[in-house]
Symmetry: C2
Subunit: 379 residues, 2 copies
Amino acid sequence: MPSTPLNRLSHISSHIASTSSDMANNGTSRPKVVVTRDLGPEVMPLLLNRAEKDIDILVWNQDRACDRTWLLENVAGASALIVLVTDKVDAELLNAAGPQLRVVSTMSVGYEHVNVYELARRNIKLGYTPDVLTDAVADISIMLALMAGRNARETMTIVNNGQWPEYNWAPFLFCGRQLSASRSSPIRVAGFIGFGRIAQATLARLVPFGFTDCLYTSNPSSKPNPSRDSQIATDQRLRSVRRVDLQTLAEQSDVVFVLAPGGDETANLVNEGFLKSMKKTAVLVNASRGSLVDSDALAKALREGWIWGAGLDVVKGEPGIAADHPLVKEPRCAILPHIGSATIETRLEMATLAVNNALAAIFDKDMPASLDLSAYSKQ
Amino acid sequence: MPSTPLNRLSHISSHIASTSSDMANNGTSRPKVVVTRDLGPEVMPLLLNRAEKDIDILVWNQDRACDRTWLLENVAGASALIVLVTDKVDAELLNAAGPQLRVVSTMSVGYEHVNVYELARRNIKLGYTPDVLTDAVADISIMLALMAGRNARETMTIVNNGQWPEYNWAPFLFCGRQLSASRSSPIRVAGFIGFGRIAQATLARLVPFGFTDCLYTSNPSSKPNPSRDSQIATDQRLRSVRRVDLQTLAEQSDVVFVLAPGGDETANLVNEGFLKSMKKTAVLVNASRGSLVDSDALAKALREGWIWGAGLDVVKGEPGIAADHPLVKEPRCAILPHIGSATIETRLEMATLAVNNALAAIFDKDMPASLDLSAYSKQ
């Protein structure tokens, strides 16, 4: 894959015409910023306007994930590397960049694709984009909870296939489970596996649906925080906010939201045992990482009616999810292709933050959002 | 279609065995209750437990809408008639019932299927089921607003068809519009065509999404109520709640919710002119009646990008909506088969209320929910 000059990016070519000759050779002393994807006409000018003054820029400009070979060939001499979740940042890439690399800035809240130990060892900073996607993912979590309860996938498919005329109104036709409180279910319990920013934003959105109680589980190594919990309960006018064990959460929740980090420690937390303990009327939502849910167990739970339905934004093994995947075959399983943060508003904020993290680091300013890597330092 | 004895309803046969001989002839003096559909094992005992004491019951027990001929043949002598939206209650049916009919009780909030003038003229009471479906429909309204903004139909279809593997992550892949407020869109305006109970319940659910302002239109003959509006604004911590004209609502709303009654007065309120005035980033939700939205205009608006997306629980001409309907062909149009009140919790409450309305009327007690028919009286 050949290196492609920046000015092939048609929508930004006018900005860089005057600097393209400087950028064609790397003989300047300006810090070099390598970007593994065109970040769009709203965000790229943040870099390109600097290109005329104090930085050099090299951008992978194809409309697909950055080619590894291209990146290894072109990263040399970079001071900053702006990457996406599709780019693996490992020792090989860092070696190819060279010792002047000061910052890796990823346009994501997760950093599973980055070897944080290698960064810590080399004293390279890591920028990421927490917080800005909280609302977008909380919105998707509410949407999936509603869709799972209200049989949205089954009923939409009937309409899309032109089968609506085959169904005549009947008292309980298409009936799902109600997210909101009702006379027969005045107590509504939200359960959160993981209780960080996104979970708390999701909880806030549930309050006007008549939710009364919140249960959550946390990383066992984190300290309980009952005063924080009672403050949330007061603020949200809930009867209770309580940290519990997984079994209690499974048994008592009307909706279970999986909103914890991925990785080995949380793999398959939602397994057959968990699903069998859930209420038959409850729904499961996963908007974090596919690895937390055992797909085969969930498919069995839906097939055999252990729970009412599921709404998933992530599936283990994604995007390699074929039509015959056991969860795709379950009509009560609404699956989205990992669009939790996929709003124009949020992705623009993420891209802007990724650029600002990179620029701040190379010019010795405070990065707006950097991860503390001291825990990963082996010294 | 032959009259089918009640005890063919297998799940309730044990309740009525002792009274079936009484019920086979109508020679008793007990008031007769005709029910046009089996209302399920949770609700039917409310009637059947009375059947042993003080009422006779006749139920259409097929798993489809009540046959008109059967109903005309069997309604004679009824004191109460419990109906669904699929049953047309007109002069012919009321004549067939006879002058002793005291109440028609419909398991619905709408009563387009009932000739209210004929009821008023004969002094027959009308029971219906308002309020109990408010939360179920507000839930669907929020779900549809989210689905319309987040491209839920398009993205779910990709997964269901096994096409997810064909899509590689990209910064703006699958991006939709965010319902929640964001740094770039801190002002969020909800617009309601019709501002009754369901609209207000929907508004309450939008508040934690960061909505700041509410616009609404009302029946022109209803009086403005600014003190009520400012009270809602205070209660919901909104900057403003304002009654406006349709044009202003179209121009300023980020989400337009259609939640007004059907009928001639509201037909096609959402037409080409309205849709052209909406923001390109806005979405339209209809969870009331299909007649309020011009389907062809909406399909054109989606095709040509006048608005971002639409979420519909109702479509004009439903359920006769084929796969080649112009709205079904629009990928940015998420359509549900009129499931707004279709939760088990709500439908059980509606059925219970319909039974209680009928029983109260025949035993001269206050009906829990009756419509005042005085406006329809021609005297």
